[in-house]
Subunit: 322 residues, 2 copies
């Protein structure tokens, strides 16, 4: 039996055929083109899935379930996407629509949640009964695994870790509140801090690498310059990893999972990032002499969404949820 | 079968004989006198338990287990109190010591955790599979119930909700960090804000009620004056309930439990507090049109510690943990 995992992003649909563990047998992708009616997007999700199946040489009869990771929130009773801000989706009957094309059990969950599930079954937090996955990208997403299963809360609005308050009346957030954690811990935040820094230090290597244009600064430039010892970049990186360590303490002091996994674009900084956060975290813990969550980098990369979505489908079918 | 619940506080030991639900059949108490060697404190814990049993006219044979709630963290493999800052306890073999006096199974957990368990089985969050209990007292404690059971994390350091960061580099906390949530949401915080306010508004009713002495201001005075419409007190209360609403959003956006229970001294403000936080919380939520955790006041009062400790003992014995 194989499982289809679909990673529905704001710009790309990616569908993979998996062995129900970490192996992607074949995959296919298409642009999301989110302005279209949702029916067209779903049609392309089905088309990608069938194309990947064909590449893999596997018949539809051998598919156990379809899992979908979405950048929003879903509920699996009716198989509905409740909110997907990037796509402009609201109460979209995704299961029903997808089953018009492929008649298999369909399960949906948040993209960070399924990525966290992927890491907890086939990645760096493998074998951990509890883990928290933090995606450090445009925003900050969270995926929570408790007793081996995704935890999305009593009303499906849990694990929005980017929207905990880190600073009362702090930087305005896209969500409408102020001072949300993702305004300090996302790639967007790192870039904002770097742009502020180069306005004060126009001689910074960061600005040189960005061809003198602050709008060219991205996360990689900041991290590369910090690695190379540019003072402005180092200061920004130091502040960023302090915020991230505070965020990790929030996770430890709230849930104390076995593992905290850092994923998303910023996690490509690798051990440079991990070492800095590991070094700072202990000073923000409540119990400094007690063991606490292991801090790790995600290992499944961009495939985590597909793998995790497929794992979700497998898990739900095996639990006979529908 | 009855269960003994011991609430070990910084100033008082309270032991109750319970029916394994919400009913306290008899109880007894003694001063903690925390400066003493722990052996003497534990001896008095046993003495209180036996006295309460005698009052209840119940034989030791009918006791199923002893549960203990402590203002600190414990582990139930060895039955050890790991930390209890108020008592100056560190790695105290509480189970072993207590069993010298009463040879019954002994289980230990944090006081906010057992109070949360009590509310979730016999109180306001009764029947909820997930709930979070917040004690608003000298500090802010947290108790987390997931799938009907206390969640203390993979390393026992979870549910320290008072030590999430609410303000980067904010008010210094007793824990050594800065800007912890309990520096904004505890009774101590409310009192601090009121003292600051009366220094600017010496004509405030708050200062009159405190006989002109800021050091006499307590939580009740501030809340009473706010209820009566004193402008300075109202402003302080408004700020305090804003912080508390932000704290509640942190709970919703992280765990989204069925119920959030407000307990501890400040919760005696009743509906005046609850209405204010309920009114403010929605503006801090990520998904403002979605259902979210029900916000309630604790109903078991000071007995929650005893009741919850006894429930912990019962639950652990029934699960055959030892």
């Amino acid at each position: 039996m194989v499982y289809i995992g679909i990673d529905l992003g704001g710009t790309k649909i990616a569908a993979g055929i998996t062995d129900g563990r970490e192996k992607i047998i074949a995959q296919a992708s298409a642009p999301t083109d989110a302005q279209r009616p949702y029916q067209e997007v779903v049609r392309d999700m089905a088309a990608c899935s069938l194309k990947a199946l064909e590449k893999a040489g596997i018949r539809l009869d051998d598919v156990g379930a379809i899992g979908v990771g979405i950048p929003g929130i879903a509920e699996n009773v009716n198989g509905t996407v409740i909110f997907c801000t990037n796509l402009g989706w609201h109460n979209v009957p995704l299961r029903e629509e997808l089953r018009r094309h492929i008649d298999k059990p369909v399960f949906i969950d948040n993209d960070a949640t399924v990525a966290g599930l992927a890491e907890s079954i086939a990645g760096v937090s493998q074998g951990a009964s509890s883990s928290v996955f933090l995606t450090l990208g445009t925003g900050v997403g969270g995926g929570i695994i408790i007793n081996g299963k995704p935890w999305t809360g009593a009303h499906g609005v849990a694990s929005e870790l980017g929207h905990l308050t880190l600073e009362v009346d702090g930087i305005p957030c896209t969500c409408g509140k102020d001072g949300c954690l993702e305004r300090y811990c996302s790639a967007t935040a790192l870039i904002r801090m770097a742009r502020e820094a180069v306005s004060l230090h126009p001689d910074s290597l960061v600005l040189i690498r960005a061809d003198g244009r602050p709008e060219n600064i991205d996360g990689r430039v900041v991290i590369d310059c910090a690695k190379e010892g540019d003072p402005a970049a180092m200061k920004v990186f130091d502040r960023y990893t302090k915020y991230l360590a505070l965020a990790c303490n929030n996770v430890v002091s709230f849930l104390d999972p076995e593992v905290i996994v850092l994923g998303g674009g910023i996690s490509n900084a690798g051990s440079f990032l991990l070492d800095a956060v590991r070094e700072k975290l202990p000073r923000y813990l409540m119990f400094r002499t007690m063991p606490y969550s292991r801090l790790e980098l995600a290992v499944l990369g961009n495939s985590a969404g597909m793998i995790g979505a497929a794992l979700l489908g497998k898990m739900m079918v095996e639990e006979n949820v529908l």
